[in-house]
Amino acid sequence: MSLVESRLTLTVSYVLLGLFAFIALFPIALLVLNSLKPAAEIVQNPLGLPGPIRWQNFVNAWNHAKFSKTFVNSLVVSGTTIVLVCSTSSLTAYVLARKKIKSWKIFTFYLLATTTAPIQLYIFPLYFGFAKLGLINNIFGVALIYTALYSPFAVMLLRTYFIAVPKELEEAAIVDGATSWQVFWRVMLPIVSPGILTVALIIGLNSWNEFLIATTFLQKQENVTAVIAFYLLSGQYSSDWGEIMAAALIIVVPVVLLFVFMQKRFIEGMAGGSVKG
C-alpha cells in the first residue's frame, strides 16, 4: 500500500471537506448578510446581497436587548461558573486520580448518572429550594447551578489528565521539599493546564448559551443573560429580523473570538493529557 494518497482520493476528500465547510458556514454567511439588511428586504430576498448596508440593526439590537447590561450578566455568570468549576473540579479530580479510592467505580457511576439525568427532572424542586433561599433573580445563584451541572464532566475529564502525570514528578517535588499544596499548585496544576483550559472553554460556552435554567431562575429584565435577551427580541418589538440577526451575531462574536485565539491549545487539550516528563 502506498503511503502517498492517490490523486482521486485527494480530490474526493477535498470535495467532501468543501461540502462540509459549506454546510457549516452557509448559515453563518446568511446571518452576516441579513444582519445588514432592513427587515423588509430580508423577507423579499433572504439570499441576496444587502442593497444599502444598514448598520442601524446593530445599534437597535444593542439597545433593545440591553446588551450593555445583559452581556455583562452573561460574562459574570460564565466567568463565575468557570472559576468555580475549574477550582473545585481540579482539586476533586486530583484526589480521585491519586488516592486509591475503593469506591471510585461507584463514584464514577454517580457522576455519569448525574450527567445523564435531564434538567426537567429536578428543575422544579430546585426552583422552590432557591426561592426559599431567596436566590431567584440572582445571577450568582445561576452560576452555582451551572457549577453543579458541569462539575461531573469536568471532574471526569481532568481526572484523566492527572492520571497521565507520572507519579515520580510528585515524588520529586516532595523530595525537593514541596508541601502537598505546593505539589498541587506548582507542579500538577501547570502540567494539566491544557485540560483546565479545555474545561474552561467548554463550560464557558455551555453556560454562555444555556437557556432553560437561565429563563427559569432569572426573571427580572435587568438580570437576564444575553441569550435570553436575544430570545425576548422576537415578538417584543414585532420581530425585526435584521435586528435579530445582528443580535445573534453580537452574541456569537465573543465565543468565536475565544475559539480562534485558543484553538491551538484547545486542540492540544482535547488530544489528551499527553504529558512528557
Binding site: P166, E168, L169, E171, A172, A173, I174, V175, D176, G177, A178, Q182, R186, V187, P190, I191, S193, V275, K276, G277
Partner: protein
C-alpha cells in the same frame, strides 16, 4: 555528609512483606550500590530511605539521626529517578532551582548555585531550555543537577541510566563516578545491572527476595561470594556451577560430578565422602591441558571476542563456560581438555550457602 544506618528494616504492603529485615551500614562519603534482580526490593528500600514509603519495622538513620518519622524534606536527601521526573513546565534552570525556590532562597544565591552545578555538569548552554528540548543524556544530567544544587547529605539514585542507550550509559557511569569523587557525598545507587554495580561501587549490597545476600567490595564479592546467588549474579559470564559430591576414591579428596567426572579440590578441603555439594569455578580459571589429561569437555560453541575466546562446552551432562586468552580454532563436538586452578574453587552446600 552523613552516614546511613539501616537496621533490620522491614516493609510490608498489606499482608505481603517485601523486605524482611535489611541491615546495611553505609559510611560517610561512600558510594554504595544496591543490586539485585527485578522485584527484589531495591527501589522499596531506597524509597524508604528517601521517606517516600513508610517503614514497617526497624530503623533508618541518616547522620546519626533516626529518620523513620521525618518527612522527605527534613531528611536532607535528594533523589534521581529512572524517568528523570523533570518538571516539564520549567526551564532547566528552574528545574534545578526548584528546591531552593521552595525553601525561599534569595535569587542571587539560587543563580550562583545553579550556575555552579550547571558548570560541573556541562549544562550552562542549556539553562533556558525546557526538558522536552533535551536529549535523554541531557535530561539525565539535569536530574543530577537538581540533586547537586541542594547540597544534600545523601544522594539517592534509582536506576538512573536504564533509559539510556548502551554507549551513553557507559559515559554517564564514568561521569557519575567522577562527580562522586569530586563532591564526596554519600551516595546510594540502585541498579539491576551488575556491571554498573561492579564499576561504580565502593561497596555493593546484593539483594535477593527482600533479603541482603552479601555486602562487600566489588572484587571481594567476585572472588569470595558467600552464596550461590551472589556467585551467579556477579560476573559475566557467571560462575560455572557443577552438581556432584565429595569423593576420596583416588587417595586424595576430590569432587566427582554427577556424571562421574573428577575435579580437583583445594588442598585444605576435607569433607566426608558422599556429601552432596555444588562446585563453583569462574570461566577464566580454566586453562587448556594437553590432550588426554585433565577434564574432557565437548565443545558446544566457540565465540572469539577479540581479546579472549569464550568456549561453551559440556562436562558430562553439565554445561560450563570457559574464557581463554589465546585464540582457539576448534569445532563444535570436538573434545577440549581442560585444567583449572583448584585454589579458585568455591564450594556451596545444596542450600546454596558457601562451604569453604
Amino acid at each position: 555528609m552523613a552516614n546511613v544506618t539501616i537496621d533490620k528494616a522491614r516493609k510490608a504492603y498489606g499482608p505481603v512483606e517485601v523486605l524482611h529485615g535489611v541491615s546495611v551500614d553505609i559510611r560517610d562519603g561512600e558510594f554504595v550500590v544496591l543490586v539485585g534482580p527485578s522485584g527484589c526490593g531495591k527501589s522499596t528500600l531506597l524509597r524508604m530511605i528517601a521517606g517516600l514509603e513508610n517503614i514497617t519495622g526497624g530503623t533508618i538513620g541518616i547522620g546519626g539521626r533516626v529518620v523513620n518519622d521525618l518527612a522527605p524534606k527534613q531528611r536532607d536527601i535528594s533523589m534521581v529517578f529512572q524517568n528523570y521526573a523533570l518538571y516539564p513546565h520549567m526551564t532547566v534552570a528552574e528545574n534545578m532551582a526548584f528546591s531552593l525556590t521552595l525553601a525561599g532562597a534569595p535569587k542571587a544565591e539560587k543563580q550562583k548555585r545553579v550556575a555552579e552545578a550547571a558548570e560541573i555538569l556541562g549544562l550552562t548552554p542549556l539553562l533556558e531550555r525546557y526538558p522536552r528540548q533535551l536529549s535523554g543524556g541531557q535530561r539525565q544530567r539535569v536530574a543530577m543537577g537538581r540533586s547537586i544544587v541542594r547540597k544534600p547529605q545523601v544522594f539517592l539514585f534509582d536506576e538512573p541510566l536504564s533509559n539510556l542507550d548502551a554507549k551513553l550509559r557507559v559515559a554517564m557511569r564514568a561521569e557519575i563516578k567522577s562527580l562522586h569523587r569530586r563532591l564526596a557525598t554519600t551516595t546510594i545507587y540502585v541498579t539491576h545491572d551488575q556491571v554498573e554495580a561492579m564499576t561504580m561501587a565502593d561497596r555493593i549490597v546484593v539483594m535477593n527476595g527482600g533479603h541482603v545476600e552479601q555486602v562487600g567490595r566489588p572484587l571481594d564479592l567476585y572472588d569470595d561470594p558467600q552464596s550461590m546467588f551472589v556467585a551467579e549474579f556477579i560476573g559475566s559470564p557467571s560462575m560455572n556451577l557443577l552438581k556432584g559430591r565429595f569423593d576420596s576414591a583416588v587417595g586424595r579428596p576430590v569432587f566427582k560430578t554427577n556424571d562421574g567426572i573428577v575435579l580437583p579440590l583445594p588442598g585444605s578441603v576435607s569433607k566426608p565422602s558422599g556429601t552432596e555439594a555444588i562446585y563453583g569455578i569462574r570461566p577464566e580459571y580454566f586453562t587448556i591441558a594437553p590432550a588426554g589429561s585433565g577434564i574432557p569437555a565437548r565443545i558446544v560453541v566457540v565465540e572469539p571476542l577479540g581479546p579472549e575466546t569464550q568456549v561453551t562446552a559440556t562436562v558430562g551432562g553439565q554445561t560450563v563456560v570457559a574464557m581463554f586468552h589465546e585464540r582457539i580454532s576448534m569445532q563444535p563436538d570436538e573434545i577440549i581438555w581442560l585444567q583449572l586452578q583448584a585454589d579458585r574453587v568455591c564450594l556451596f552446600d545444596t542450600a546454596g550457602r558457601r562451604m569453604t
